[in-house]
């Protein structure tokens, strides 16, 4: 039933896309499309919720579509229900946001149809139950999002971004094609049911997992396959960026989980080594890249890379535990990862919405041109602050809960017998801790430079508060961030069916725990109570405020800021994003990005301004992609000479082919 509803919703979205094509030229179409998609997403969200919370038995459905003798198989089990919820929650908030934001769109016809189709694609991916339907929806999702990235095709960066994105997407899909080809075997057992039934050999499963890691990872944005992500996500309209960053990457995670935990057969312990190593690298590289950015949306995109790393750490740990027969630890790690999937989809969407609001208010994405927005757009500033705190894993918000669970999982891993993991996991833990701290630093920078301080440009001065739909969407997400942060128990319990289905084990039920705290393993071992921490903080904060205002003074004077004796400081004297990141750049950037600073200091008496230039190189692009591009170019040039031969030379080609084949014959028989 729920599956049928979800499928109907997907179909409705596709129909909506058609509507968007047809009536795209009417101004009303924006409201219609986004409103309709909001409703549809809500319906399908409820369907997913019923399926997951109701813990209904999974059931499938086969439509006579796709590969003829196969049909299109769909299935809604706990895992897909959870990801359906993630998708639809993102879709709902994005549509709500876009009800206001979409009004500013200059070319709605390039956005509306693909937006609806994009949502449909993501829904279908999580519902698909055979290789063809899965990859079909997967690539359809990529294609529609590509079209959305290209929605402002006059901007050269967007065109380049779309190009890189599409190529990487095709690469990922083809890799997944391999994985499924491997699992389906020569006689084409394409349905997931058949793959589950067939137990692949360890080596085969390992290869499939590796391919899945590459294929799904390139879409999720694991380093070093992340290059498209910081280009493509910012290029799209902000609500689409939110969807791509907050939801589509999660769909990619879904793909990986589906293959790694279900289809690839029983795991071997060393699978997880690859996953964990890559994940650790992704986490730290993502946040370090982010620290070097001063484009707001690109910074957010790089943080998606970081969070994907955190999620994959959880998944890798879960694989490791599962392979070593520690199902409960595996359940803990998996739950941590999935909870972080949920959380990240919340606050990343929220932050991208904030960036979109700033973009519409000021027309600027570059932080160096912003500042002081908290005075002009206080509500936006407030919700974005919540988002920043959440993504920086500060209690009592949701980001902290999932990272805390991940830490707990890491603390269980000494039980792992294998030495490789014993040595690797602590390192990964250190990387995780490092990235958490760096993320906080990065969001101090992002928020401080964008919203605090004094406006750096007239555009920032003239900013105005954004419309009510956008605000509604952002407050909705912010509230969710807080709720998940202070009542994590309910969400953890909701995830129990998933881990039960995948690992045959679940975390202990949390609802029963005293004062709504969460107890991953045992109360004597570790526990956390977001609600209580929240209450304490509010209580003591208000107490202090009350006491001081009551007993001592509450008077207040406005005066110019301390200028150290230099009157009328211009806003240019504030710390910029680049200068804020300078100490960290010195510490980490010098060897990661070969960051170099040149100071050009004029001699005394010379009136020209001193300037500091920083250049940063992207190691991964330089060492991995640039050679590839060059190589293809060279090969193309070499082969291109063949276009300019004379007829006689072409004839001699034919002649040589003939002689060679005859020789082959002569030798062969």
């Amino acid at each position: 039933m729920t599956l049928t509803i979800a499928l109907v919703c997907a179909a409705a979205l596709l129909a909506l896309a058609a509507v968007g094509v047809i009536m795209g030229r009417f101004p009303a179409s924006t409201r219609v499309v986004y409103g309709a998609s909001l409703i549809i997403a809500a319906v399908s969200f409820i369907a997913g919720l019923v399926q997951l919370v109701g813990a209904a038995a999974p059931f499938g459905l086969t439509l006579p579509l796709g590969v003829p003798w196969l049909g299109a198989h769909f299935r809604l089990d706990a895992l897909s229900a959870f990801f359906l919820i993630v998708v639809d929650l993102g879709a709902m908030s994005a549509s709500l946001f876009a009800l206001g934001y979409g009004e500013h769109e200059t070319a709605p016809r390039r956005v509306l149809p693909f937006y609806a189709a994009f949502l449909a694609g993501m829904t279908l991916v999580v519902l698909a139950d055979d290789a063809f339907t899965f990859l079909f929806s997967w690539e359809f999702m990529s294609l529609t999002s590509w079209a959305l990235v290209m929605s402002h095709p006059r901007v050269p960066e967007n065109v380049r971004a779309g190009y890189v994105y599409l190529v990487m997407a095709s690469f990922g899909t083809l890799t997944l094609l391999f994985a499924f080809g491997l699992l389906a075997g020569p006689d084409g057992l394409y349905t997931f049911a058949q793959m589950r039934a067939a137990h692949p050999s360890a080596a085969l499963g390992a290869l499939a997992l590796l391919l899945a890691l590459i294929g799904a990872g390139s879409k999720a944005g694991i380093v070093p396959l992340h290059v498209w992500l910081p280009l493509a996500h910012p290029a799209a309209p902000s609500h689409v960026s939110a969807l791509m960053s907050g939801v589509m990457t999660k769909v990619a995670v879904y793909g990986f989980v589906r293959i790694a935990f279900e289809l690839a057969g029983p795991p071997a312990w060393w699978w997880s080594i690859v996953v964990l190593a890559v994940a650790g690298l992704t986490t730290v590289m993502g946040v370090l890249y982010a620290l070097m950015q001063h484009d707001l949306k690109r910074l957010l995109a790089y943080h998606t890379v970081e969070n994907i790393g955190i999620i994959f750490i959880g998944l890798g740990l879960s694989l490791a535990f599962n392979a070593n027969g520690l199902p409960f630890a595996a359940a803990l790690a998996l739950t941590a990862a999935l909870l972080h999937v949920f959380n990240h989809s919340l606050f990343k969407s929220l932050l991208f919405f904030g960036a979109g609001a700033v973009l519409t208010a000021t027309g600027e994405r570059d932080m160096e041109h912003l500042g002081g927005l908290i005075h002009r757009m206080p509500q936006t500033a407030f919700v974005v602050l919540v988002g920043c705190a959440a993504i920086s894993a500060l209690p009592p918000l949701n980001g902290f809960v999932s990272e805390w669970l991940t830490f707990q999982a890491i603390l269980l891993s000494p039980q792992l017998p294998s030495w490789g993991l014993k040595l690797l996991v602590p390192g990964v833990g250190a990387l995780l801790a490092l990235s958490a701290a760096l993320a906080a630093a990065c969001f101090v920078k992002a928020y401080g430079v964008t919203f605090l301080g004094r406006p750096r440009t007239p555009a920032a001065e003239r900013a105005t508060e954004t419309d009510r739909f956008s605000l509604a969407a952002m407050f909705f997400l912010a509230a969710l961030c807080l709720v998940v942060g202070i009542l994590p128990g309910f969400f953890i319990d909701a995830l129990a069916p998933v881990s039960t289905a995948l690992l045959g084990a679940r975390m202990p039920p949390q609802i029963g725990a005293q004062w709504l705290s969460i107890v991953p393993i045992a109360a004597s071992r570790s526990s956390y109570d977001g609600l209580l921490v929240f209450l304490f903080m509010t209580l003591s904060g208000t107490l202090a405020a009350y006491a001081i205002h009551r007993l001592a003074s509450d008077r207040l004077r406005r005066a110019p800021a301390w200028d150290c004796g230099y009157p009328d400081l211009s806003p240019a004297t504030q710390y910029t994003a680049m200068s804020f990141a300078q100490p960290i750049r010195r510490v980490f950037g010098t060897f990661v990005f070969r960051a170099r600073e040149q100071v050009d200091m004029p001699p005394p008496g010379d009136m020209r301004p001193a300037r500091l230039t920083v250049q940063i190189t992207d190691p991964i692009w330089d060492f991995l992609y640039a050679p590839l591009v060059v190589g293809i170019g060279v090969a193309a040039d070499r082969l291109n000479r063949l276009q300019f031969l004379t007829i006689r030379q072409f004839l001699s080609l034919v002649f040589c082919a003939l002689v060679i084949l005859l020789l082959v014959l002569a030798i062969w028989s």
Binding site: E139, L174, A184
Partner: protein, 479 residues
């Protein structure tokens, strides 16, 4: 005598050719052209239902039935397309009325030749028909009488004739191989007889024969390194002919190859034709994929993409097996429809922009949204992205191959990926970016283009069981 649809498929174009050669006047002849192709299509479709028993000269079975229907259909849509295209050429004066008359006549002759080549039951007859088709296309390619057109025609002509010669030698060898078993005379050249008796043929002769046929007809298929004529012929001829070349003629030559492959498959002692086709296919695929990068001429670009896809198709048939063969057939059909649709779009684009240089056209989705998005849709289809049909064929191909021969699959995927990257690199500069070139209103006939794309889309999502059964049957025939 009762009117036989098979003869109809041949007769109608022949008569139409004669009439068109006689008739002056663009309007009538163009209409007549369309009418003739329509009738031919109807006849071809009727082959689904009533199929005559194979005669000495003519034969219709599931295999060439597919090809005939495809050919006549694309022939029909192309004639509709050329209705507006040639009209525009007349207005701009690139073609004069006598040449237009010649063009229409030749178009029907080409249709006749291709149909004949397809339904011929006699390897000699098929050879003659393909030669005829080649010569007509040579004349059509040179129709603009410009330096480049003449050069392209000349190149095509020389290489084509050599190919023809090689193919003939192969045909003779087949006959030589068949004669001791079957006996002298026509019987030794009939498919129906050959296939049944091929087991007893002399394997060595068959091998040599296949080598010559592979190179001879491979030249027509445009497999690297025999492809040289193809890009220029596509680029310099009138666009309808480019569409027909890519969409049909290549298929016809491929059909001949498949027939002979089946012949060899019957003979256990002969060499397996599969590996040869796989090698040539992969070679063409990778080569063409790299060639796409440096193209400046939009029609040449898609010509090379045709080479690429012919390589893929040859690869699929070379791999063999029910899934790969099915994928190959599907891919061939989808490629014919898609590529001709792309050429329809390209033709109009080149007309409105007044050039074929990619550098001179840009921002097409802004200047001509319909054409631009049609082109994008076509390229998306040809790149094998869902929801269009080629995705399914590539899915089946890659998955089935990877399970059997991982390394080959790797090469295949590498080629596809390189090709996709190149295609979209060019597409970006054509369809997106700052608008360049004229933005004059295009008087274009969108119907054929979108009809093709709609079919491709439909096939990507849902294939009617009858068609599937048909294809599976053919895949079984191909072994």
């Amino acid at each position: 005598m009762t009117f036989d649809t098979v003869t109809g498929v041949l007769l109608i174009p022949a008569i139409a050719a004669a009439l068109l050669a006689a008739l002056p006047g663009y309007r009538i002849s163009a209409r007549l052209n369309v009418a003739a192709t329509t009738l031919t299509l109807i006849c071809a479709l009727s082959l689904f239902f009533s199929r005559p028993a194979p005669g000495v000269y003519l034969l219709v079975d599931d295999l060439n039935g597919t090809f005939v229907v495809l050919t006549t259909f694309v022939g029909f849509t192309t004639s509709v397309f050329s209705l507006s295209y040639i009209g525009h050429e007349l207005e701009t004066g690139r073609l004069t009325p006598p040449f237009v008359r010649f063009y229409h006549a030749m178009y029907q002759v080409l249709m006749f030749a291709m149909n004949l080549a397809l339904i011929a039951n006699n390897i000699g007859l098929m050879w003659v028909a393909i030669e005829l088709a080649t010569l007509t296309t040579v004349l059509m390619v040179g129709i603009y009488r410009t330096h480049e057109a003449l050069e392209a025609a000349w190149k095509y002509f020389i290489l084509g004739s050599v190919g023809i010669a090689l193919a003939l030698f192969g045909t003779i060898l087949i006959y030589m191989a068949a004669r001791p078993v079957i006996g002298e005379g026509l019987a030794a050249m009939e498919w129906t007889v050959l296939v049944t008796r091929a087991g007893a043929f002399d394997p060595a002769l068959l091998n040599v024969a296949f080598v010559f046929l592979l190179l001879g007809y491979g030249t027509k298929v445009g497999l690297a390194p025999l492809h040289a004529w193809l890009p220029d012929a596509h680029a310099e001829g009138p666009t309808p002919i480019s569409a027909v070349l890519s969409g049909l003629l290549l298929n016809v030559a491929l059909y001949a190859l498949l027939r002979f492959k089946m012949l060899l498959a019957v003979n256990a002692a002969a060499l397996a034709p599969g590996p040869l086709m796989v090698t040539l296919g992969l070679l063409s695929l990778v080569f063409a994929a790299f060639m796409l990068y440096r193209r400046r001429d939009i029609k040449r670009l898609f010509a090379y993409s045709s080479i690429e896809h012919m390589g893929i198709i040859a690869f699929a048939f070379g791999m063999g097996g029910p899934i790969a063969n099915f994928a190959g057939l599907l891919h061939m059909t989808m490629h014919s429809l898609t590529k001709s649709a792309i050429f329809f779009a390209v033709g109009h684009i080149a007309q409105v922009k007044g050039t074929q240089r990619i550098a001179d056209m840009g921002g097409l989705t802004e200047t001509h949204p319909v054409l631009g998005w049609a082109l994008i849709l076509g390229v998306v289809a040809i790149a094998g992205l869902p929801p269009l049909g080629i995705f399914m064929s590539e899915f089946l191909m890659v998955t089935s191959t990877f399970a059997r021969a991982p390394l080959l699959a790797l090469v295949l995927v590498f080629g596809i990926l390189v090709g996709v990257a190149a295609l979209f690199l060019r597409l970006n500069s054509i369809a997106f970016g700052e608008p360049r070139g004229s933005s004059a209103k295009a008087q274009a006939s969108y119907v054929p283009m979108f009809a093709h794309l709609a079919l491709v889309l439909a096939a990507g999502i849902y294939m009617p069981p009858a068609l599937v059964a048909w294809f599976q049957n053919v895949a079984g025939l191909l072994g």
